[in-house]
């Protein structure tokens, strides 16, 4: 046995205590909890720094930027047709929908309009992106609140939609199919009948979700009255899409201010709103929207006009000088592009207004005073895609 003097032993203990002290931050107002960057509820890498007191959140601050790709800078060195490849990857679950407002803004500046057939097919693909996006939301919501089954069902049934998108565009996730003045290609043979079958399957998926999730007592307990956002707060934060409609704001860019180039004026559907503004309302609106989207697609499939799919546009696209803002109702909410053109091959400045950026900026407001598990309900119900925040 080696002898250690009392002095040495005391010195070693003091050093250990010093080390330990360096790793503890004494806080007088609760403790800090990091949710993420790697957490299933963050759909990627969003970090939420929550200060908590017991089980209650005092403040929650989302930290974005783990996925910033600098698209606004990159668009300034790409020609207009090249830009769609990039912006496809903003909201990667509904990627075709990202291209549409950019193309529409460029069309506005060039004063071109896509032929009716292209507008129709564009709208169908837009709604298919919405279905692919929101069906996954419903599954994801269930997973985060502890109900795994619907997660599997949503991944299963989303395939039907993705298959249809793939059959037209050749890409499951990044179609890059929309063009200034129309579309890249026409529909393949037999696609209309297949899509109708897929819509039928999506409707039965919605019924399944309705039964499994929305009728579930645990789900209701975890979402009803949680994260209530009043309409005026939602407006001043610029919440859009289902999040705004769940706060009772009757505003849908497909119906109100729909930019030319989409065929929403030719279909009949309902814009759902909910007065509650809580996590349940936001989820419920999305469920109804999935159903409405299948109805829109069905109606459009029946009325596709014949004709060309491309307007006459120059082979080398130069967009005349000017500024244009076009926003559309994307799966996640209002997505718009503010294009400044100098009459060149490349845009001078593109401001990308993505839905999730505004939708998530309300997190500090809405998470104040809630309990820790409710943070997950709120994040899940606000539904964001990281690429749509960071761009």
């Amino acid at each position: 046995m080696t002898a250690v003097s009392d002095h040495d032993q005391l010195a070693a203990m003091a050093a250990q205590a010093n080390d330990a002290r360096a790793n503890i931050e004494f806080e007088d107002d609760g403790m800090t909890l990091n949710i993420g960057p790697q957490h299933p509820a963050t759909h990627g890498t969003l970090r939420i720094v929550a200060k908590i007191d017991g089980e209650q959140v005092i403040s929650a601050e989302p930290i974005a930027g783990y996925m910033h790709r600098g698209y606004e800078k990159l668009t300034e060195v790409r020609t207009y047709p090249q830009v769609t490849t990039l912006i496809n990857r903003i909201d990667w679950l509904g990627s075709f929908a990202n291209e549409v407002p950019f193309i529409l803004a460029a069309e506005k500046l060039m004063d071109v309009e896509a032929p009716p057939r292209a507008q129709h097919i564009r709208t169908i693909l837009f709604e298919l992106s919405r279905l692919a996006n929101i069906s996954l939301f419903l599954g994801d919501l269930a997973i985060q609140l502890g109900g795994l089954s619907l997660g599997f069902y949503s991944f299963r049934d989303r395939e039907f939609v993705l298959n249809q998108i793939e059959a037209v565009t050749g890409g499951r996730f990044h179609p890059n199919f929309d063009r200034i003045g129309g579309l890249k290609d026409d529909l393949p043979k037999g696609w209309i009948a297949e899509t109708k079958v897929a819509m039928e399957k999506m409707r039965s998926f919605c019924d399944e979700a309705d039964d499994l999730l929305f009728g579930n007592e645990i789900f209701q307990k975890r979402t009803r009255g949680i994260g209530v956002i009043p309409a005026d707060v939602a407006k001043s934060y610029g919440l859009s899409g289902p999040n705004a409609r769940a706060s009772g704001i009757d505003w849908d860019l497909r119906r109100d201010n729909c930019p030319p180039g989409l065929a929403y004026d030719k279909v009949d559907w309902k814009v759902w709103t909910h007065p509650d503004g809580d996590a349940f309302a936001r989820s419920w609106i999305r469920l109804q929207e999935t159903r409405e989207a299948t109805r829109i697609v069905d109606q459009l499939l029946d009325t596709i006009p014949s004709g060309p799919i491309m307007a006459k546009v120059p082979r080398i696209i130069k967009v005349p000088e000017g500024e244009a803002w076009v926003a559309t109702e994307n799966p996640l909410g209002e997505m718009g592009y503010y294009i400044v053109s100098k009459g060149d091959l490349v845009p001078f400045r593109v401001k990308i207004r993505s839905a999730s950026f505004n939708n998530v900026s309300i997190v500090p407001w809405v998470c104040r005073g809630v309990y820790v598990p409710d943070v997950i309900s709120i994040l899940a119900s606000l539904y964001f895609i990281l690429g749509d925040i960071d761009r």
Binding site: E76, S236, Y237, I309, I316
Partner: protein
């Protein structure tokens, strides 16, 4: 040119409210309205569009750098050409967009009226030597993150902002990447191959191209 009574009316209301602070405007009939105000009146303008025009919905706030890129259209590959002895191209003169402008930097924001379905794009000049503006956070809470982004990317300080810290970039990052004179580093490493690649379009003017490539 058709007149747009709605937007003419909105502009007149704003002029009555703000007086000389409205220094420029542009209307695209049936579509959009641009109003440029002075920097001193930026906060008042925000309050006026919210209260008087009913634009309670906040779309976005961002900035534009009107300086023509000193690196040319293909950005940094231009510099590589200079190194290998090519002649320097004179950058074009600086021009500004709708509603005019006197400075290199402009902040612009868009707000909408959801009941009556119109929107306004507000622009404001930001002094080159002192890029500061009052914050819009008390008027539109959503401006918080947008101003952080504009501060980080363009170096415009928003006075009175509650939490002006980096949004995307690491805290010790130097420079303002969205400024036109900030080089795009990816292009310095490797010249962009896509600059000559213009995709053939179906239904385009060169039909024989389509037959081959599609």
């Amino acid at each position: 040119m058709a007149t747009d009574e709605l937007r003419e009316g909105l502009l007149a209301t704003l002029r009555a409210e703000l007086g000389d602070a409205v220094v420029g405007s542009h209307i695209r009939p049936g579509d959009d309205l641009w109003v440029r105000v002075t920097a001193e009146a930026w906060l008042t303008a925000g309050e006026a569009v919210k209260a008087t025009l009913g634009c309670t919905y906040f779309d976005f706030l961002s900035a534009i750098d009107w300086l023509p890129s000193p690196f040319g259209r293909d950005m940094d590959s231009q510099e590589d050409l200079l190194v290998s002895g090519a002649e320097a191209k004179e950058p074009p003169a600086m021009t500004t967009g709708y509603a005019g402008g006197d400075t290199r930097m402009q902040v612009f924001a868009r707000v909408s009226n959801l009941e009556r379905h119109y929107g306004v794009t507000l622009k404001v000049d930001v002094a080159d030597d002192d890029p500061t503006l009052p914050t819009w956070v008390p008027v539109y809470a959503g401006a918080n993150w947008h101003e952080r982004e504009a501060w980080e990317m363009y170096g415009i300080t928003f006075v009175g902002h509650p939490h002006l810290v980096h949004m995307y970039l690491p805290g010790d990052f130097e420079g303002n990447p969205m400024r036109k004179d900030f080089p795009l580093l990816a292009r310095r490493v490797k010249p962009w191959p896509g600059i000559v690649d213009v995709e053939p379009m179906p239904g385009g003017t060169d039909d024989e191209e389509d037959g081959e490539s599609e």
